[in-house]
């Protein structure tokens, strides 16, 4: 259903080539450049040759199009049904797209078809008009590269006002929350959108003059003991990190993954969740955190000690 050539890279690239041919600017080198830019690494070996050799008779020998119109294609029914289904997602209120053309379309699915069973229950208030207004203003600021004045409260309830240059909205499906990533007062700010009380659009800024700060990346080295299907579970769970895995022995693996130091506490409890099948080998600070949690647990309650002795 999805795997069709009409959605394929080659059809897209050929449409782009033909469009440029209509503009009269297509040359052999431009043809190759478009393919290199928009298609796969090895497409330049096949697409230009097919177009120039008349295997695909769409351009004449002078690279002029034989078509009468610039190439366009209607949306497929699947694409329309997917868009229609999005209209039932509460987060669509953040975007306000033009729904014209979808009136008679059946959605691909109902919103309650999906159950996100381990998603946090305190997601952002996507129905709240004030939240929607702030979100749209922040999104506009990012799109138009304009400064923003935001008023928000932090986790302790203290109020803040910040003039900043917003550059991304970051969403976590696990938390069901958006965070605004912005630069202000010479440092990176990450602000939960649900904590923003007001957003005011200010003047444009020159994006060339700002440098996005690099995340404080650390490398975590883990030894994985493959029992209880741990290999599959661990590698899938940490798959969103940049990582490298080595097989050390039968059912023994080493994983190196790079993480943002700011997320260390979250990563700590994720490693803890795997119990003894994961063993932290580096960095030392992380090992100390693991040891501290475990020792603290050992010190708690007679129930656990009785569990030890049983």
């Amino acid at each position: 259903m999805l795997f069709s050539e009409i959605y394929g890279s080659y059809f897209q690239v050929v449409a782009a080539v033909l469009t440029e041919a209509f503009d009269g600017t297509l040359t052999a080198s431009r043809l190759t450049a478009i393919v290199q830019e928009k298609a796969f690494a090895e497409s330049a070996l096949s697409i230009p040759a097919a177009l120039k050799s008349e295997d695909w008779p769409l351009l004449d020998s002078d690279l002029r199009p034989v078509l009468q119109h610039k190439p366009t294609m209607p949306l497929t029914l699947l694409q329309k049904r997917w868009l229609k289904a999005l209209l039932s997602d509460p987060r669509i209120a953040l975007f306000d797209p033009d729904m014209t053309g979808l009136e008679e379309i059946e959605p691909l699915y109902q919103q309650d078809t999906f159950v996100f069973f381990d998603q946090c229950a305190d997601g952002d208030p996507f129905h709240d008009p004030a939240y929607i207004a702030c979100f749209r203003t922040a999104l506009k600021a990012i799109r138009e590269k304009r400064k923003l004045r935001i008023r928000f409260h932090d986790r302790t309830g203290a109020r803040h006002s910040l003039e900043c240059m917003p550059y991304r909205l970051e969403y976590s499906a696990k938390d069901d929350k958006f965070r605004l990533l912005a630069i202000g007062k010479r440092r990176l700010h990450t602000v939960n959108m649900a904590r923003v009380r007001s957003c005011e659009l200010l003047d444009p800024y020159d994006p060339k003059k700002i440098t996005l700060p690099h995340a404080r990346l650390e490398e975590l080295t883990l030894i994985l003991h493959d029992e209880r299907n741990a290999l599959d579970r661990v590698l899938l769970h940490f798959s969103h990190f940049e990582k490298e895995t080595f097989k050390l022995d039968d059912r023994l693996y080493q994983i190196k993954l790079r993480y943002d130091k700011d997320d260390e506490t979250e990563l700590l409890i994720r490693v803890l969740s795997f119990g003894p099948v994961l063993e932290v080998k580096a960095p030392d600070g992380f090992i100390r955190l693991m040891r501290s949690r475990i020792q603290k647990q050992i010190e708690y309650g007679t129930a656990l000690f009785s569990g030890f002795s049983s």
Binding site: T76, Y109, T245, L272, Y300
Partner: protein
């Protein structure tokens, strides 16, 4: 057959991409493959699509290839590219542009008229041997009608075709929504196809805890969504992830369960023969065939609602009996966030505050052993743990003992 970076069948490359992305430590000879050339071709294709994300590791035992992506840093899921690599014939691509062009002004044409126009308007400009017969054109027109690109109407003995976009669709107003939902929606690859139509896609979003692998199962998911929407019984061909054994199940498909903490996707369906609710991992499903409309679909949906109330994740336990579990947590000074965490992560459980520094989480679930990873995230704060299933308590304590030994031993002395 000569190598091509395009593919006819998605299934094989689906397996390789998963291996390269999730495991990454395997060497060429460790893949259960038909032939070395097969491995080399698949690896070369994936390199061609995803060269920016491919890495290599070489040591004395050989070379291994892996896909490594920090998905927090990228705006688009690179694995979507696999869905854009379907092979086709010269006639497919040529006919596509000819048909769309001939009908671009909103007019209607029969298949015979289209063939005549193709010969007169386009092929007459070439001296080559390229030719198209009416049956090929008719077949393509029908295919495009089923995809929704064209509509048809009868006029006497003729069938006339017309494009379906007589009114412009304002896709540009969707640019931000597409950038978001193409990543966040379970069938976001459809959004990726739409983004390809935009001159200036939005770059406003990034995604934390972003699991991108599931997109490889989008075709299966799409078939299931249609079956669920049409309330049809469904036959699944499943390949066991452990034994690689293939088997079939006939079920009533009801819901798609998705983990936001691993990216895993599951179909929940009523298994007719087993007379019970069963979960199937989507990455184990090879084929979905929709059957008849299920007359009692509402009955099974009500069953699912009731069934869901005691699920922690997707494990139903051996017999659907309930395990009762209680975890008492100590809240240190200034650690109210732990209580908040319990509240937002409790799922079907309940949380009660016992005193200013103690709270209790309680749940009745089909399989409490499935909760162990979550329980361990509270290590260092658990005052008491009780479970009606003694195996769960024993495993918790045994794991803790092993972890204690692991981090207390001399081997782990911090330098």
């Amino acid at each position: 057959m000569a190598y091509s970076e395009l593919i006819k069948n998605f299934e094989r490359v689906r397996n390789y991409m998963r291996e390269f992305y999730v495991y990454g430590f395997k060497r060429r000879e460790e893949y259960s493959i038909k032939s070395a050339r097969s491995y080399d071709n698949e690896r070369r294709r994936i390199e061609s699509w995803l060269s920016d994300y491919m890495s290599f590791h070489q040591d004395v035992s050989g070379k291994n290839v892996f896909l490594s992506v920090d998905s927090r840093q990228i705006p688009h899921n690179p694995l979507h590219k696999a869905f854009k690599a379907k092979s086709f014939t010269a006639k497919d691509i040529t006919l596509h542009f000819y048909i769309m062009d001939l009908l671009a002004d909103g007019g209607t044409l029969s298949s015979k008229e289209i063939v005549d126009h193709i010969n007169d308007n386009y092929l007459s400009k070439f001296s080559g041997s390229f030719s198209l017969d009416e049956s090929t054109v008719r077949k393509k027109l029908k295919e495009y009608e089923s995809l929704g690109l064209l509509r048809s109407e009868r006029s006497g003995r003729e069938v006339l075709y017309q494009r379906t976009d007589e009114e412009a669709f304002h896709l540009i107003s969707w640019a931000d929504a597409l950038a978001f939902f193409s990543e966040e929606n379970p069938v976001g690859v459809i959004g990726s196809f739409l983004i390809d139509k935009l001159d200036r896609p939005s770059d406003a979003f990034r995604f934390k805890h972003h699991y991108i692998l599931h997109t490889l199962d989008s075709d299966v998911l799409c078939d299931l969504l249609v079956a669920i929407d049409e309330r049809r019984t469904t036959e699944l061909v499943i390949r066991s992830l452990r034994s690689a054994r293939e088997y079939q199940r006939t079920i009533c498909p009801l819901k798609i369960y998705i983990s936001t903490q691993s990216g895993r996707q599951y179909l929940l369906g009523y298994h007719y023969r087993g007379r019970r609710m069963v979960f199937f991992r989507l990455d184990a499903i090879k084929k979905v065939s929709a059957g008849n409309v299920e007359k009692h679909y509402d009955k099974y949906l009500r069953y699912q609602e009731k069934f869901d109330r005691h699920l922690w994740g997707v494990s139903t336990g051996p017999d659907h009996n309930l395990d009762h579990i209680e975890m008492t947590i100590h809240l240190g000074h200034g650690e109210e966030f732990v209580l908040q965490r319990l509240e937002r992560e409790k799922r079907h459980g309940t949380v009660e505050l016992l005193d200013a520094q103690t709270c209790r989480f309680t749940a009745d679930v089909y399989d409490a052993s499935e909760m162990l990873p979550w329980l361990r995230t509270f290590l260092g704060r658990i005052v008491d743990l009780k479970c009606s299933n003694p195996l769960v308590e024993n495993m918790f304590y045994e794991d803790l003992r092993r972890m204690d030994a692991m981090y207390r031993g001399d081997d782990h002395a911090v330098q």
